[in-house]
Symmetry: C2
Subunit: 241 residues, 2 copies
DNA sequence: TCAAAAGTGTTACCTCTACACCCATGC
DNA sequence: GCATGGGTGTAGAGGTAACACTTTTGA
């Protein structure tokens, strides 16, 4: 793998992705941790090739990290404060990892590439968490799902980027009917409701919620799902586009 | 004034502004036409200094073109198709203006700067059209307000940028109470209604509209406005933040 | 038979809409 | 007085929220 400074990327422009998943009544975000000492966490991100649409670049980055190609993806905001650079982060990283790194030749170019001020285009993705096998890059020590309320501290403004992504997700959820991207192929009405309650962090009345969702006319009712529990078996539903 | 290629700008990143005004029951957009032969129109735009927030850059560009500094301004989308470059436009411009231009030295650098692929951050502004004195730059032959339904053909994807801006404006209008930025300091209820009808391109019932707007609790009722017409004088209102 | 959870119905309430009416103004 | 446009009131429609009830399931 070549270094960013050797690739034919647009300079000082990056893409950062907030990948939302849902499991166990928790909204989660996929966050890699870098191989370097110091517990540096950063959103999955990347750069844009000279001849590449930004949407395509975002898809490429997403596929790299999740292993799946059909992903719901939406641009939501572009972050461009002048202070958005990795200088502080990179210097601390070098300080803590001086054994592995030298600051000459090749590394010098990398340093110059990474420490400049970047403008970053934010995308959020909604994925079925069961279909994703998180993929590490060479630079990742690990990549994990974190509960959105329990995110690690991330570099630069990445925590703020997640906050803005969540805000946009809430605004778009009803209008664009995108919540189902977070669920598996089939699901019960209770699961939909719990997802909504998690995203909006508030309860919904069960009967009214069911009515509201069914009135959207986007769900197909399938057979019942027998769970073995001592109660009426719920129907399964499938989202139809 | 120095040329863009000589300034310390971020490369391949630009800002384009859709400046909305309102007059005579028409929603208008401020569009400059370039000095060169060939009727080239382009949205007011510019570039971002290395040490400048993108919001500040947008304000700077706006102030340059409108002469006013307190402007309602909002980022709405970032346009980044790989085909977004001015190559075709610049070549046609040079063809048509070969008498004024040479392609050597200084101009060569300019050519290289302008013909690369650009990613552009879109902002829309809402201004009181009476307060604006449109300002030409060195490169503008003219700068004029165009009805949004009667825009000239603009370079690259600028017409599409306006369309997306209008879409966003409609979405944000009610929630963010920003329509009043398009009106003068004081206005009648009829003027507010006509503005809304223009933006949404549909009629509203007069009494219900009044109730809806007053229920927002953001207007202050002032004295009556006697127009000389043979009917009841309407109240003036002021928007209070 | 019972508890738990799913499905459905019903009513009260609020909001939005359409219609109606009255008021001020200048001719 | 009268035409014109502005301001306000009100009943009906439609939608939302709260409550109630029935059904299914396995222990």
């Amino acid at each position: 793998m070549r270094s960013p400074s050797e690739e034919n990327y647009i300079q000082q422009l990056s893409i950062d992705c907030v990948i939302f998943g849902y499991h166990d009544k928790q909204l989660k975000v996929l966050v890699p941790k870098l191989v370097f000492k110091g517990d540096f966490c950063a959103l999955p991100g990347g750069f844009i090739y000279q001849e590449e649409d930004i949407d395509i670049a975002a898809h490429r980055i997403l596929q790299q990290r999740t292993g799946i190609s059909e992903i719901y993806l939406e641009q939501f905001f572009t972050f461009g404060n002048a202070t958005r650079n990795s200088l502080e982060f990179i210097n601390r990283l070098i300080d803590l990892n001086s054994d592995k790194l030298t600051s000459e030749g090749h590394h010098r170019r990398e340093y110059d590439w990474f420490t400049r001020r970047f403008v970053s285009i934010g995308y959020y993705a909604l994925v079925d968490i069961n279909k994703v096998v998180p993929q590490k890059t060479d630079l990742d020590e690990s990549i994990e799902w974190y509960n959105i309320n329990d995110l690690p501290e991330m570099i630069i403004d990445h925590n703020a980027i997640v906050a803005k992504a969540l805000e946009t997700l809430r605004q778009n959820l009803d209008e664009k009917l995108i919540a189902f991207n977070l669920l598996p192929e089939t699901f019960t009405m209770r699961e939909v409701q719990e997802l909504y309650e998690t995203i909006f962090d508030k309860p919904f009345a069960r009967n009214n919620f069911q009515k509201m969702i069914l009135d959207l006319n986007v769900l197909e009712r399938l057979e019942k799902k027998f769970t073995g529990a001592a109660n009426k078996a719920p129907y399964l539903y499938r989202f139809r586009k």
